[in-house]
């Protein structure tokens, strides 16, 4: 995607009374923000879905409003129920009118066909009370990529108002599930962070589990039961091919990419004893990192690649441990009641997310030293959190109880207040959030 330099220049922000939202705040702090449909200078059919540039302008506004609403920090209105604007109004808002409707901020923009097969999506963020522009962004893109432009606009707005890094323009790999509980079909699938652009990758004949995107999104590492064995494959998204990561007579599972994408952590069970290993993503000789007669499994790198958090039941129950990337200095960091599992290091480095098992499963966070534990969800089974690219939001899967128990993908922010389900065509588990798209 090509960002338009001239539009992407942020205007200097006013010194006084700036609009902002606090990501650590509560739901009462939601900022009201109007998002009218984006007009087009001339209605042109683009071949995208929707095709006409005026319909695209409305759809872009809908995605921006949905992203902002889903973050839990904003109370967007529109494009339904707010006044349509003209093209000439895009950079010259009628502030008084928006103020009278209670909008503190305003997002306006346009969609234009460029005549070369591309469209331009431009968006602008205004402070309604101060009558000033806060930021702008523009993208020249293939029409079929219009949702990415909308996510980029929402990212620019989120970043400007929250002071945090953006995260909407990103993708999720997960396991799509269907069928009865005792014979579930589990397929590898990918989608945008909001559930759109969904695509199944495996056909369900072989069980797939625990996917992870490579940092460049070019490949997905996952566990496959192909050949009735537990083995780790790397799937090349563009080529549609996969290759085995390591050949072993033993079960290999729980794969994780290193932050630079060059290494893969995995677990291998030898005669009933599971330990953690590392191997080059290109193959080669594995390096054993743990060596205990217990179950050592999973693992997640710190964003600087210097440490690994993993789970082990060496104390008698599952707990979290941190070690060097060569396996040195293994230290337990979780000490609360119950068991701790599925640790994932935040891309910001400041927190580790986990599943806490005390009968129920709950998603929580603690510092890498094990302090400041907070549980963010409270349901029957909330499992396996995965961080948003900015380390402010977690996706996880929620399983319901009983014979008809289903799993679904959910999202919660670090306040624990803003929780919502991510729409998937069928049931879902094991969401793995990739980094911000380039």
């Amino acid at each position: 995607m090509r960002a338009l330099v001239i539009l992407a220049l942020a205007i200097a922000s006013p010194a006084a009374a700036q609009l902002s939202v606090d990501v650590d705040g509560t739901i009462g702090d939601d900022l009201s923000i109007a998002v009218p449909a984006m007009p087009t200078p001339q209605v042109v059919q683009t071949g995208a879905n929707p095709s006409a540039t005026d319909a695209l302008g409305r759809a872009v506004a809908e995605v921006i409003a949905s992203d902002l609403r889903g973050s839990g920090l904003f109370k967007p209105t529109g494009p339904s129920g707010v006044r349509a604007i003209g093209v000439g109004e895009v950079t010259a808002p009628q502030f008084e009118g928006w103020a009278s409707q209670g909008a503190a901020a305003l997002v306006q923009g346009f969609v234009r066909a460029n005549g070369n097969g591309e469209i331009t999506v431009g968006c602008y963020l205004f402070d309604v009370a101060l009558k000033t522009e806060l930021t702008r962004a523009g993208f020249a893109i293939a029409p079929r990529d219009w949702r990415r432009a909308a996510h980029k606009c929402a990212d620019a707005i989120y970043a400007r108002l929250s002071g945090e890094s953006p995260f909407f323009d990103s993708r999720i790999a997960y396991i799509a599930e269907s069928g009865p509980k005792n014979n579930r079909i589990k397929r590898l699938a990918i989608m945008d962070s909001d559930g759109a652009n969904h695509r199944f990758i495996t056909n369900g004949q072989t069980m797939a589990l625990t996917p992870r995107f490579s940092p460049d999104y070019k490949s997905i590492v996952y566990l496959s039961y192909l050949g009735k064995r537990l083995r780790i494959f790397i799937y090349d998204v563009a080529a549609g091919r996969q290759r085995l990561v390591t050949e072993s007579a033993n079960a290999t599972f729980a794969p994780r990419f290193s932050p630079d994408g060059k290494s893969i952590l995995y677990s291998m069970a030898v005669g009933g004893n599971t330990d953690i290993y590392r191997i080059s993503a290109g193959g080669g000789t594995p390096v054993r990192l743990t060596n205990s007669p217990s179950i050592d499994v999973g693992g997640s790198y710190s964003p600087d690649g210097s440490k690994i958090v993993f789970e082990s039941d060496r104390s008698g129950s599952q707990q979290l441990y941190v070690m060097g990337t060569d396996g040195s200095g293994q230290q337990r960091i979780s000490f609360g009641g119950g068991r701790y599992a599925t640790p994932e290091w935040s891309p910001r480095g400041d927190l580790i997310a986990f599943t806490r098992v005390t009968g129920n499963f709950r998603v929580g966070v603690m510092t890498p030293a094990g302090g400041g534990e907070r549980l963010l969800t409270n349901s029957w089974q909330d499992e396996a959190p995965s961080w948003s690219p900015n380390g402010r939001v977690l996706q996880f899967f929620r399983t319901s109880q009983g014979g008809n128990g289903k799993s679904s993908v959910w999202q919660v922010d670090l306040t624990g207040v803003n929780e919502r389900r991510i729409p998937t065509p069928i049931d879902g588990s094991d969401p793995a959030w990739g980094p911000l798209l380039p």
Partner: protein, 171 residues
């Protein structure tokens, strides 16, 4: 005559071991007869009886095709030992048959951990069979973690049924 003798030996050994076998001695199958008796026997008498050496024969012949575990545990208790002894006895009669032991966990653990736990349980059963003289190369293991429950409920009874290692013959 030979058949009857072997039958009695098998039955006697089970009784002597004091195992809490779940099948009555009368239900124990006849051992294979190396073909001669079957070849000359009345075909009608064999109708409905599983093919000797088949998965159906295995299930019908042994105390149970599976052993059960306590929460998070993987030890083989006395009841499991009796079950696995009956499996080892059957395997001794069909030395060409290989088996896969499928290890499972209940739904109250996380996914990756349960894959490791299922592997532990499958290997416990495998090691016990090996200690009874079954060649290890005949036994493979696979863990399904919590992904393939036998009982679908979310209650103690269902969970107890799902913490299992199931022996399946491989054709």
């Amino acid at each position: 005559m030979k058949n009857v003798t072997t039958h009695l030996v098998v039955a006697a050994s089970l009784i002597a071991l004091g195992a809490c076998a779940k099948k009555k001695v009368e239900d124990l199958p006849l051992p294979p007869d190396n073909g001669s008796a079957t070849a000359t026997g009345d075909a009608d008498a064999d109708a409905g009886r599983p093919l000797p050496g088949s998965q159906e024969d295995f299930v019908a012949s042994v105390v149970a095709d599976r052993v059960f575990f306590d929460t998070d545990l993987f030890d083989i208790d006395a009841e499991d030992q009796a079950t696995l002894r009956s499996q080892a006895g059957w395997l001794a009669r069909y030395p060409q048959t290989r088996v896969t032991i499928e290890g499972h966990a209940d739904e109250r653990g996380t996914r990756d951990y349960n894959l490791a736990l299922g592997d532990r349980r499958a290997n416990s059963a495998k090691n016990y069979l090996a200690s009874l003289g079954v060649d290890e190369t005949r036994i493979s293991t696979i863990s399904y973690g919590k992904e393939r429950p036998d009982a679908v409920g979310s209650d103690e009874g269902a969970w107890a049924r799902n913490r299992r290692a199931v022996t399946v013959t491989v054709r």
